[in-house]
């Protein structure tokens, strides 16, 4: 899957290419999040024209609305969105942390009460694979037992071991291993010992993700854990750091050896009127910009800056 083209002499950064079913993707790569089968406000054509060759869909949201069966009948998520390039779906597990009051975790899986009404659902490793098989993304993620990175105590170890067991259940339940690449997600919170003991790294999967981070933990702990985890992942497989992130984090984590990233940050911050620039960001709603007739970034070739 990963072809390493160049490696940095001083850091652990590498440049390469992901060979995926819907085409090659140069990496390191940032993957925009198209939660419900659409990048926020952008047509598929606009997204492709920006150079995007892989983006995310969310299994939990698509599984509830419109439902995986409808997406399957639409030709999978690719057909539903009319997206000719690559897609990655997460397992639905992250919603465990973000919608915590509504969920309950057991060995079986996660029980949800959907926020928009309806019956309780059980998201098990098998169910997650079933939905992701129907959605048809090029890369699918295992269902992992996610705990917030600020959690401490035995729950963290329990989640790490359970995630390994769930990976095995996902591997067994995965009905389309040729068309869809299943990535494992290494857990263990911020505890290096737990991260070391996570035996997932020995599984024969096409790629690994580093999960359980980017949830409010202290930055010093964050990067140390990324470093530690990345060091223990095989060189010749892609390393996906989930939920990262801000500009500085991207640079640091590439230097630590990560290849793939996703975050709602750029799309979300745009909805709040914030424009990203090489030197930070501009809060365009502020009065100081009312009579500023310059483009956001004079060196930018995007259609906004051109006009």
């Amino acid at each position: 899957v990963l072809r390493v083209v160049a490696e940095c002499g001083r850091s652990r950064a590498r440049a390469g290419e992901l060979r995926l079913p819907h085409g090659d993707v140069p990496c390191p790569v940032f993957m925009p999040v198209g939660t419900r089968g659409t990048a926020k406000g952008l047509t598929a054509a606009q997204l492709a024209a920006l150079g995007c060759r892989i983006c995310l869909g969310n299994t939990f949201h698509l599984g509830t609305r419109p439902g995986s069966e409808l997406v399957r009948r639409s030709g999978g998520l690719h057909g539903f969105m009319d997206w000719p390039h690559n897609l990655l779906t997460d397992s639905g597990g992250f919603q465990m942390v973000s919608l915590l009051e509504l969920s309950e975790v057991s060995e079986e899986g996660v029980r949800f009460r959907p926020p928009h009404g309806g019956e309780e659902i059980l998201l098990s490793p098998e169910k997650s694979m079933e939905i992701q098989n129907a959605l048809g993304a090029d890369i699918v993620m295992q269902l992992d037992d996610v705990v917030s990175s600020t959690t401490t105590g035995p729950r963290v170890e329990e989640a790490m071991h359970r995630s390994v067991r769930w990976l095995d259940r996902c591997l067994a339940a995965h009905a389309r291993p040729q068309q869809q690449l299943l990535f494992a997600i290494v857990q263990g919170g911020l505890d290096p010992d737990l991260r070391l003991r996570c035996t997932m790294t020995q599984r024969d999967v096409p790629g690994f993700a580093i999960g359980g981070l980017s949830g409010g933990e202290d930055k010093a702990q964050f990067w140390r854990t990324v470093k530690f985890s990345a060091e223990r992942l095989p060189r010749d497989k892609p390393r996906y750091l989930m939920g990262v992130g801000y500009a500085t984090d991207l640079v640091v984590c590439v230097a630590l050896g990560c290849d793939m990233f996703d975050c709602v940050f750029p799309t979300r911050t745009a909805r709040f009127g914030s424009a990203l620039v090489p030197w930070g960001s501009l809060q365009l709603k502020n009065a100081q910009f009312a009579k500023d007739f310059r483009p956001i970034d004079a060196d930018c070739g995007c259609s906004t800056c051109q006009r």
């Binding site: 926020k40 047509t43 009948r73």
Partner: protein, 421 residues
């Protein structure tokens, strides 16, 4: 600006040429303007607007939003079109936004009230011209008193609307002479007079005596005026106007009403209607292809079938949520029945959305409140509406206006999918 008529029967088929700063702008007649809202075609950026076929050569911008940024435009100095990122567009600045309601009773002999996002703004003639100098429009509606649409306006109020508007017009024409920024701008005189024939005729004749570049028929918005009165007045007004100057009408957008106005001498319409359709989660599906050709028959049948289905769903609770303003020319895509409809919004439509997406997808986007729903619907609704005007011109050329009228009016009679509660 040159108006050329081709002398077809039943309507004024022709074109406007020599428009804009460059003199290269043109507008086919009868035609419509591109509706814009706070600086852009609604929901669309430049690149998505470019995907829409048939975008008219003249865009409409409403004064209230521009008045709110008057100081910004003054400092910018290069005019509203460039500020909006449409430097080559021909811009028509109307006094009001067709979609924003204008509460009644605020105009005086010296002022007209405009309504924007920050509330009411009182405009004098002098303030009006100040703002226009900063906007630098290619065409603009002269400030006028059109507060006669509430249905409560009597003869006296109608007379006032005419007197005030003429007085404003004369003052503005004088001020325009002294404004270098507005030398290339064409002023459109507003025909007022409420629902009083005498006043309408007076307004038309008097306005026509002034050196305006075109006319706009005002005060026909809303539903207070009886349809017969409206049509009669429109016909009477246009009969008084010179043939070689364009006539815009405000507030008319539905396809059947557009045809009725074209038959009565109106040239140019706004395109707020497809925007309103988009805002209520609907897609235009009415047929305007009156060429008897097998593929087209399928188109008509599909469109007609959908419109018939609208009625059949009356007892389902999803239909009850449809906007009561919904017309027989559209389908309500948020309705549950579309959740697994894998056809395009309209069979045979060549717009971006219909070529790439299904009703099921747009339904999903609407249900999940995704921004893309508005983008895709706006692209479809605009293209369909612009295509309608193209069909009108073609019908006039081929002398088939009666057939087109029959086709459209037939669809108007099917009865809208209203909430029955």
């Amino acid at each position: 600006m040159r108006l050329q008529l081709l002398g077809a029967g039943g309507g004024r088929l022709g074109s406007l040429a020599g428009l804009g700063r460059s003199g290269a702008g043109a507008l086919a007649l009868p035609g419509c303007l591109l509706y814009t809202r706070t600086g852009a075609a609604p929901h669309l950026t430049h690149d998505t607007l470019r995907e829409v076929r048939g975008v008219p050569g003249v865009a409409q911008l409403a004064l209230p939003a521009l008045t709110e940024i008057h100081d910004v435009l003054e400092e910018y100095k290069q005019g509203a079109a460039k500020f909006m990122g449409m430097p080559d567009a021909v811009l028509y600045c109307s006094l009001h936004d067709p979609v924003t309601p204008c509460p009644s009773g605020y105009n005086t002999n010296k002022t007209v009230s405009l309504w924007g996002s920050s509330g009411r703004m009182e405009m004098t003639v002098s303030k009006f011209m100040d703002v226009q100098r900063a906007v630098q429009p290619d065409w603009f509606q002269c400030i006028s008193d059109g507060d006669t649409i509430s249905g409560e306006a009597g003869k006296k109020r109608a007379k006032k609307s005419v007197d005030r508007s003429l007085s404003f017009l004369d003052m503005c024409l004088q001020l325009q002479e002294k404004s270098p920024e507005l030398q290339g701008s064409v002023m459109f005189g507003a025909i007022e007079g409420g629902d009083i024939l005498e006043e309408r005729l007076r307004s038309a004749r008097e306005t026509a005596k002034r050196p305006v570049g075109g006319f706009l028929l005002d005060g026909f918005q809303g539903s207070a005026m009886a349809k017969e009165t409206k049509l009669k007045l429109i016909a009477s007004v246009t009969a008084e106007l010179p043939e070689d100057k364009p006539r815009i009408i405000h507030g008319v957008g539905k396809p059947d009403e557009v045809l009725e106005c074209i038959e009565r001498g109106v040239d140019i319409f706004e395109s707020f209607f497809p925007f309103q359709v988009t805002e209520r989660g609907c897609a235009l599906v009415f047929s305007y292809d009156c060429h008897p050709d097998p593929e087209a028959t399928v188109l008509t049948q599909n469109g007609a079938q959908d419109l018939e289905k609208n009625d059949a769903q009356e007892d389902q609770d999803e239909v009850a949520k449809a906007d009561p303003e919904m017309t027989p020319f559209e389908i309500f895509l948020k309705d549950k029945k579309y959740h697994d409809d894998f056809g395009p919004l309209l069979e045979g439509c060549s717009c971006y959305c219909c070529q790439r997406h299904t009703r099921a997808y747009v339904h999903h986007l609407l249900v999940t409140n995704e921004l893309l729903a508005g983008v895709l619907l706006m692209m479809h609704n605009f293209q369909h509406y612009f295509g309608f005007f193209s069909a009108i011109r073609e019908a006039l050329r081929d002398r088939k206006l009666e057939q087109l009228k029959k086709l459209v009016l037939g669809q108007a009679l099917q009865g809208p999918a209203r909430a029955t509660l």
